[in-house]
Amino acid sequence: MDAEGLNRRKFMTISGAAAAATVGLEGILAARQAPAHAQGTKLHLLRWNDFVPAADEVLLKQMPEASKALGAEVTLERINANDLQARITAAISSGSGPDIIHVLKNWPHLYEKSLVDVSDVAEATGKAQGGFYPAMTELCKVGSSWRAVPHAIVGGQIAYRKSLFEEVGAKEFPKTWQQYREVGTKLKAKGYPIGQTAGHTFGDAPVFWYSFMWAFGGKEVEKDGRTVALNSKETVESVKFAVGFWKDACDEGGLAWDDSNNNRAFLSGTISATINGASIYVESLRNKDKYKTEKGALMHTDILHAPNPAGPAGVFHLHAPFSHAVMGYSKNQKLAKDFLRWLHGKEQFEPWFVAQKGFSVGSTTDWEKHKMWDLDPVMLPYRTAARAFRLYGYAGPPGRAASEAESKYIITDMYAKAIQGMKPEDSVKWAESELKKIYT
């Protein structure tokens, strides 16, 4: 059939609409025709400003390709990650805004009722790529339906200065928190403390302190998600350890650091280690001559990464998960799902994943095997970082209560209060009482 001879109505009826409605993107591709959507249909995607600009450039280049494949104009808008929730709240409340929004943390649970069921897209993507990490499934699957399609995980690992650690006798990164404290004490004595925030900041504070608590066996609630279990021997021990760790090994100015303070401190050579996405290393590579060690070597040659040390209960990480959600008010829900199927497909995800160079890792296990990991051994610890991924609200579900506890910085403040002089037992009791108001 000659497509040029068709009028628009016939085209919609025969090729596009039918193909898209029945077999999704495969149908679109097989038909070698863009599916027809109402003329001038636009799809609006809202994402964070990626820390890796090269990855955003890949996405920007992909938008015209998506427009061509889907027969609708796809636009990408990027904003600061801190502003996403305000935009989501406004969009849901007004019933208008971007069709697809980049959701972080456990937001699929928070906005569940305002998000479209994307189970078909998520399950197909997971199945084709080796399955999602369990934490990503827990985050995006609310009850029995997926409210967002997992996209990527910004892993948190400890960035440390190889030469400084070697100078105090640590040939490899400490395996336990006790060893880390001992090494950190020596480093602080030399003027290179460990740098860590205990402030009200979006990423690094919860990433560090939740993982720390879990390593000692502490947890917010029992599995039922209602019984607060924070005030335990394990949590109190972790707080006691944190007080000593802070005094002996950490930069004591970190109490109100934001997510960029530790980067600046590390790159200027005032701290020896810090929990981080790979942003410090990425920045040192981006401006090689700008950052040097005190001996004049290029800073990036002196940076290594390692997972958190183990506590009595093991090694855990709270990473930063990113997903895409189709908004319930969108008039283009079908189109939005087709787009996500396209964007999350291996072919499209791969160039974005490669551009990330390990800063973001895949949300499915297959990406651990990608040859990108052969490029830079310094980034290798991020390859399997998502295996130790645990979520807010453990041992309960990562729902609204977990989110409230996290956004109120209760766990972070439990440690911060003790570091500032409150008795560890009292700071745990304070946090327990706050959690009880939320969970019960």
Binding site: I92, G199, H200, A256, D258, N261, Y409
Partner: protein, 327 residues
């Protein structure tokens, strides 16, 4: 139609033409449309002139306020209108230690910042009211903190307070005043004070420029007469300037108290409410609850908890202004 227009004009050059024009007037009046006739009624016209203002106030002030009150009485979350809860949200926040801390912080923040801004603003206004070379330049530059977007200037302060790279610490250290770094924002005992300093810096020009305008309305002869009678500078200020400036001062303070009490962006940028809630204000905590957690009802309750307190402050100040003006 006014009596003047109806009154016949007799005699004079062109009287015939004038008479002819006047004869047409009753016809103009009778040809007025019903709308024009309606507008002749002052009550109707007054009402119509008020309508745009009432609509704007209703849309942008009354509706959000009423909506906020309603939200605070419900279990609304983002995307979920929730159910009516009565005062449950208020009871919950009343027992919330972070809210209690935020309430305490807000009062301390407002009280100290207002007194600081008033004192320094008055001092600056008195200085700028004198004649000196470059007066205009100094007056213009004084407004800079007020003109520069708050977020931008607050970021500059954030750098100055940086725990590692603070220029303040560097200066104090190099002049031998300190031996260890001061945690301007990291030490809970310092953090609120540091945030107040930034608020004073930002708000002082508003006081200074308004009080300066007030000072320029004070008749200099009063000062000259007082000086001739042997009054000291302080006596002239206390007996002449201050009483005459009081109404302006009260109005400026009223605006400032409202703005300071509801301040958000400064704390949000500097500390996000930390460390350990040491700098949380009503507005930052309401944002945290309402936006970050999605608990719109509870967030609205935190936000509206400001209202009765602000209301009392405003009523007292307005009462005082009225009394001063009536005296």
């Amino acid at each position: 139609m006014s009596e003047a227009r109806r009154r016949p004009i007799a005699g004079g050059a062109g009287g015939a033409t004038e008479a002819a024009r006047l004869t047409t007037l009753p016809r103009e009046a009778t040809s007025m449309g019903p709308i024009a006739r309606l507008l002749e009624d002052e009550r109707v016209l007054g009402f119509l002139l008020l309508v745009p203002t009432v609509v704007l106030l209703g849309l942008f002030i009354a509706y959000p306020f009423v909506k906020g009150v309603w939200l605070s009485l419900t279990s609304a979350t983002v995307g979920n209108p929730g159910q009516f809860l009565g005062l449950s949200n208020y009871i919950k926040i009343w027992n919330d230690s972070i809210f209690q801390r935020a309430a305490y912080n807000t009062f301390v923040y407002t009280a100290i910042a207002t007194v600081g801004k008033l004192t320094l603003g008055m001092w600056l206004a008195l200085l700028l009211n004198r004649h000196f070379r470059g007066k205009r330049l100094v007056r213009a530059s004084m407004l800079l903190p007020f003109i520069v977007p708050t977020v931008l200037s607050t970021f500059a302060w954030k750098w100055m307070f940086d725990p590692t790279f603070s220029v303040l610490n560097w200066t104090l250290y190099h002049f031998g005043f300190i031996q260890t770094r001061i945690g301007w924002l990291t030490d809970p005992a310092m953090a609120l004070g540091s945030v107040i300093v930034v608020n004073i810096w930002r708000g002082m020009p508003f006081y200074a420029i308004t009080l300066l305008a007030g000072l320029q309305t004070v008749n200099p002869e009063l000062h000259e007469a007082a000086a001739l009678d042997g009054a000291t500078a302080w006596q002239r200020f206390w007996r002449i300037t201050w009483p005459l400036l009081l109404p302006v001062t009260m109005v400026v303070t009223l605006f400032s108290v409202i703005q300071t009490f509801a301040d958000f962006q400064l704390v949000y940028v500097l500390t996000g409410g930390g460390p350990a809630n040491a700098t949380h204000l009503f507005a930052t905590y309401a944002y945290q609850i309402g936006i970050n957690t999605g608990l719109l009802g509870e967030g609205a309750a935190v936000s509206l908890a400001m209202f009765p307190m602000l209301f009392i402050i405003v009523v007292i100040q307005l009462w005082y202004i009225r009394r001063v003006e009536g005296a």
